[in-house]
């Protein structure tokens, strides 16, 4: 029997694979089912957003940001508009800022719902996906009424928002909050206690706070290790300093903590939404005083906000023209993904899917 030779199996996972969330590819070396080496390959969805932006004016870039993190287009809109506003020192009317905040929090709920559904689908449960998409549909429909699109909203503008809320829209959001709170409990009953599910994700993909910080992780991927870092709280932007909400943290830094955190973040988002709807001014402008030509003064600025996936940043280098000289997005999915090869070594093929799903990437954002 000594003559039998064994060798490692080189397996291409993706770019066309049901669980790589799009066109992400990992080359894994397998010893049996144990991964000895994993090399992520990205770029299959690269559209050159940053390069394209150098030839576009700032209003034209906004639809492109929709397409980066297409699960959370509103936060992408916001980070660009906010960066330009900060450079130009523009005032945003209060009602517009409230509308932005409301749609961003709704977007966070929608984004986490997509994550929840697809994660459970990765783990092998079919129904949660449809449960999540049924409720996400409510949000998408509300956005459709507000901005006229279901996925790529192009809703925010430098200095304000495109539309005021249509009549009755805010009431629909108000009704949505208790509905969603009830649904979260249903989700908990459906999945969170399931023993198979727990055994699949508890203790999987574990890392400590130091590693997380060294890899530059952000969002739930960082908070699951116990680091309380949420830009909405740590460096408040928009109107977040006016609201009461908790920044939930985990302690084990495994997939299960990330799962719980994201569900908790939905609850916190609903809490913020409820307060925002109460404090919102009745009427007012939705577009601030913006010069006809948006030309940020020469210089650089970096603005970061908390997207559902972590810290999304926008770095503008301006030479005083209508187009940016250089535009750079710090995409949380891309940064969070960097820890993947380290986490995968020694895991099984099955855990690869669990860990990759737990990081919560959107390939449009990874490749931009």
């Amino acid at each position: 029997m000594g003559a039998i030779r064994t060798e490692e199996l080189l397996l291409n996972v993706g770019p066309q694979h049901p669980s790589t969330h799009g066109v992400f590819r990992i080359i894994v070396k397998l010893d049996g089912e144990i991964i000895t080496e994993a090399t992520p390959v990205m770029g299959y969805l690269h559209r050159g957003t940053e390069k394209l932006a150098e030839n576009l004016n700032f209003t034209q870039i906004i639809p492109y940001t929709d397409r980066m993190d297409y699960v959370s287009a509103m936060t992408n809109n916001y980070v660009l508009c906010h960066a330009v506003e900060k450079m130009m020192g523009l005032e945003v009317p209060e009602r517009a800022e409230f509308l932005r905040l409301i749609v961003m929090e709704m977007q966070r709920v929608a984004s986490h719902l997509v994550w929840w559904g697809t994660y459970l689908l990765d783990i092998g449960a079919m129904s949660p996906f449809l449960f999540a998409f049924r409720d996400r549909e409510t949000i998408v429909q509300l956005f459709n009424e507000l901005s006229g699109a279901r996925l790529t909203y192009n809703y925010m503008r430098v200095g304000g928002v495109k539309w005021d809320a249509p009549p009755g829209w805010l009431d629909k959001v108000r009704e949505f909050i208790p509905y969603m709170e009830k649904k979260i409990e249903e989700y908990d009953r459906l999945v969170s206690g399931n023993e198979i599910f727990l055994s699949r994700i508890q203790g999987i993909g574990r890392y400590d706070a130091e590693t997380a910080i060294r890899y530059g992780l952000s969002g739930a991927n960082l908070r699951c290790t116990g680091v309380q870092w949420d830009l909405r709280r740590s460096e408040p932007y928009s109107l977040y300093d006016r609201f009461e909400f908790d920044v939930p943290v985990g302690k084990n830094g495994d997939c299960f903590d990330r799962y719980l955190l994201r569900l908790e973040e939905i609850r916190q988002s609903l809490r913020i939404l409820r307060q925002a709807l109460e404090q919102m001014p009745e009427g007012g402008e939705t577009m601030g005083k913006v010069p006809r030509a948006i030309r940020p003064p020469a210089g650089e600025s970096y603005v970061a906000i908390e997207s559902p996936r972590g810290e999304i940043g926008c770095h503008i280098v301006s030479k005083g023209k209508a187009e940016p000289y250089r535009l750079k997005f710090r995409r949380p999915s891309f940064v969070n993904l960097q820890i993947l090869p380290k986490l995968l070594v020694g895991e099984t093929m099955t855990n690869l899917i669990t860990i990759l799903g737990g990081i919560d990437i959107v390939v449009g954002e990874v490749d931009a």
Binding site: L9, L11, H17, P18, S19, E33, L120, L121, D122, I123, G124, A125, M126, S127, L130, F131, R134, L190, V191, N194, I196, F197, S199, R200, T348, M349, T350, N351, L352, I353
Partner: protein, 337 residues
């Protein structure tokens, strides 16, 4: 079917047997067609969808259309595949799945083969399908298929053991391996005379092991869609793929029939005053419940991991089923003599 052994077999008898086989085949095909339809409907309803409703009234012809599409699809064999094994695997998978149906009795009168070792025959034949899945996975010359095939081999061998041992308790109680005999032994009139209560441990082990044998959620690792794309049948398409699907659903039929026979009292009514309803209806009801239960599980549960699956099989189910035999034997030794 005593006439078979009573006189030499004539051509007439052979034709008769063959026709019965065809009838069973048609019944099974009808079951598979509508089991798939029913599964899609039930899972659809559980997910706030309507399920198939486009082809025919209420979508009743959806599966027929699907099968037709598979049959007229171009037959592809990967260039680097092992052609002979690749072609052989789906056939080898299907034949035992159909052959095991022979021993399942539907009512007192309606049965196909009255084997004295019926249970043993079932277990022996169903093991062959594993071979076919491994062959299919190997012959495809695809890494995902290979992983699926390997998982399948590991899984089915590990779960064959607790499956067989869990039913030994039933055999001890009934004193026969003949499936009709086992049903007859449960004829107390009430539902607590059925085996599933006295053999509750055996029943639980049997259900878990059976679902695993069927490769269905939560034990659908060999074809784990989110990891292995489609597992062992990644490279199969057209009617060869249809055969793998058919095998899977015929085994659903077989396992549901076997569970009904072994643990749920076969054709017996749950209470004496319900005896006026024919046995075949009772059989069908219990059978349908088990099939529904499988679909229900599929709509709810996530997939288990391969190492946990092995752990569950060897560390929990096997000791439990052994303990069950021991307890059953002890009980009979102490009280029934």
């Amino acid at each position: 079917m005593d006439w078979l052994s009573a006189s030499p077999v004539t051509w007439y008898d052979a034709l008769f047997v063959f026709l019965w086989g065809v009838v069973l085949m048609l019944v099974v095909l009808g079951f598979v067609t509508y089991a798939i339809y029913f599964e899609r409907k039930v899972i659809g309803w559980m997910q706030f969808r309507r399920g198939p409703n486009r082809v025919g009234p209420f979508g009743l012809l959806q599966t027929v259309a699907d099968i037709l599409k598979l049959l007229i699809k171009e037959d592809t064999i990967p260039r680097k595949a092992d052609r002979l094994l690749f072609v052989l695997a789906p056939v080898l998978a299907f034949i035992p799945s159909f052959a095991v149906l022979a021993v399942i009795p539907y009512t007192q009168k309606l049965y196909f083969a009255d084997l004295n070792v019926g249970l043993l025959y079932y277990v022996a034949l169903s093991g062959i399908s594993t071979l076919a899945i491994v062959l299919g996975g190997w012959a495809s010359n695809n890494k995902y298929a290979l992983l699926g095939g390997m998982r399948s081999a590991a899984q089915m061998i590990s779960y064959e053991v607790p499956l067989v041992i869990s039913v030994t308790g039933v055999v001890l109680m009934s004193g026969t391996l003949n499936l009709r005999g086992i049903v007859d032994a449960q004829s107390g009139g009430w539902f607590w005379d059925w085996n599933f209560l006295p053999q509750i441990i055996g029943f639980a082990v049997f259900v878990i092991a059976a679902i695993s044998e069927l490769n269905r959620t939560p034990f659908d690792l060999p074809e784990a869609e989110s990891e292995l794309v489609a597992g062992y049948h990644v490279e199969y398409s057209g009617f060869r793929f249809a055969f793998f699907m058919l095998t899977e659903y015929v085994y659903v039929y077989a396992i549901a029939g076997l569970a009904t026979t072994l643990f749920l009292g076969g054709w017996h009514a749950p209470a004496p005053f319900l005896d006026f309803i024919p046995g075949i209806i009772w059989f069908a009801l219990k059978f349908a419940f088990i099939v529904f239960f499988l679909f229900w599980l599929r709509a709810t549960l996530p997939r288990i991991r391969i190492d946990q699956l092995m752990g569950l099989g060897w560390k929990l189910l096997l000791p439990l089923s052994l303990a069950n035999i021991f307890l059953t034997a002890l009980f009979y030794e102490l009280f029934q003599r």
